[in-house]
Symmetry: C2
Subunit: 238 residues, 2 copies
DNA sequence: TAGTGGTCTAGACCACTTT
DNA sequence: AAGTGGTCTAGACCACTAG
């Protein structure tokens, strides 16, 4: 119970309260003492307690309402964080050799579903890049990407011959809104060919849509052979 | 540029700084003015600026180091948050009819890989539950779960006849550590039978390991027909 | 060693919502 | 009407680390 002086006080309070929740001393729906009382109990300022409780609420452990007070939240199912590193780093982290291969890079009129996803005219020209990412001598990921050169004119000058568009975009486009979709799909004939697999092979597919200043900038479909890649949630620290 | 008075001041500061990052006024690696200067610029207390910058750093936009100052972070690839609701809520949200079906529920000695994942003796008895979750007349998810009745004795008395173990565990086990793995796999013969699909069909597989007070409580393998289920990241709000 | 962020305090006022 | 959380201030001291 004694406080570790090398630890900020608000973290101490946070930990103590989390222990009470996890041990069951404070069960689901239980009313937590108000900030003023906890401040007195811990012998600290109310703001210190406030920060501890606010962070616990942000993490989903508590629910807070003015006047009604603070209660232990009902549900633990709060989603989870997946980390996705750049594909070359992912391969490197496995101790394997990464290789990039450009398949095609053409300016083309976007097919209707892509154009509508970008909210641009159906006939507009965009940059279409198809490439492969190898891990040793296996194809680790195929990438099929449309880039809105209207939003990012500089992309039109990039050859993407020796490095993939992902890397260039990360280094050159300011922070943005990203949406991900994860699905399991069967490889079609074209995908099977690119991945050097049989058609029907299960693929882990990541669809990533990136926007900047309210405009869609790029849509990428990334396919991995199912047996080569697994998404793992961050270990959680408290 | 004028401040919306209904918005907390620290959020206003946060938004202003985020705009400077997103517009490129502050590029990758650029040095952000120190808290004292920003406090003067915005005409507020340093703590108010501090909170805004701290939250931006927590969200990955800034990197802060004492003495060295605050800089715009280099990389946008910061992972993403997936939300997973309970399977019955997921089906309900689609406007379809949910049905639960228990397949088997037996006390059994865990196979070695499961036992070692739980860190318990190889011969120990655990509860093994297999069930199906239907969406209208299709199997939406199969669930194959091992429960450590040593850690959660009350689970041994649950029949799980009319509701799945997931729901009971959420309602009865205090907050816990959870680890997720997402993979695309081909249906084996047993999975194909349970899902009423052909063997080799692509499945989106979620493996969820839940711990409580440092002990593993339950491991579940959840399989979805690939075409029925897609994981989607939260839309991001700033 | 000086400048930066990190934490903490005591007090204040406000916003919200239950009673 | 009153009690709760949410924000804000002015000031302080400390921890870290680049110069």
């Amino acid at each position: 119970m004694s406080r570790n002086t090398s630890q900020p006080l608000y973290k101490h309070v946070k930990k103590q309260m989390l222990d009470r929740i996890r041990s069951g001393k404070l069960g689901f729906g239980a009313l937590v003492p108000c900030e003023a009382d906890l401040a007195e109990e811990f012998g600290c300022a109310r703001l210190t307690v406030h920060r501890a409780l606010r962070e616990l609420a942000d993490e989903g452990f508590l629910e807070r309402r003015r006047r009604a007070g603070t209660r232990v939240a009902q549900r633990a199912s709060r989603g989870f964080q997946l980390s996705v590193s750049r594909v070359d780093e992912e391969v490197f982290a496995r101790g394997e050799v990464y290789r990039y291969e450009l398949i095609t890079r053409v300016a083309a009129t976007a097919p209707n579903p892509v154009a509508s996803a970008f909210g641009i005219a159906p006939g507009a020209e965009m940059l279409h890049v198809v490439c492969r990412h190898w891990s040793n001598d296996r194809v680790f990921q195929t990438e099929d990407r449309w880039i809105n050169t209207d939003a990012i004119p500089a992309a039109a000058d990039q050859p993407f011959r020796h490095a993939g568009p992902n890397r260039w975009l990360l280094d050159n486009v300011p922070f943005s809104e990203v949406r991900h979709e994860i699905a399991a799909v069967a490889a079609g004939p074209e995908e099977a060919r690119l991945l050097k697999l049989d058609a029907g092979h299960p693929l882990l597919q990541i669809r990533r849509e990136t926007g900047w200043q309210g405009r869609s900038v790029t849509v990428a479909v990334l396919n991995h052979p199912g047996e080569l890649f697994t998404l793992t949630s961050q270990p959680q620290a408290v």
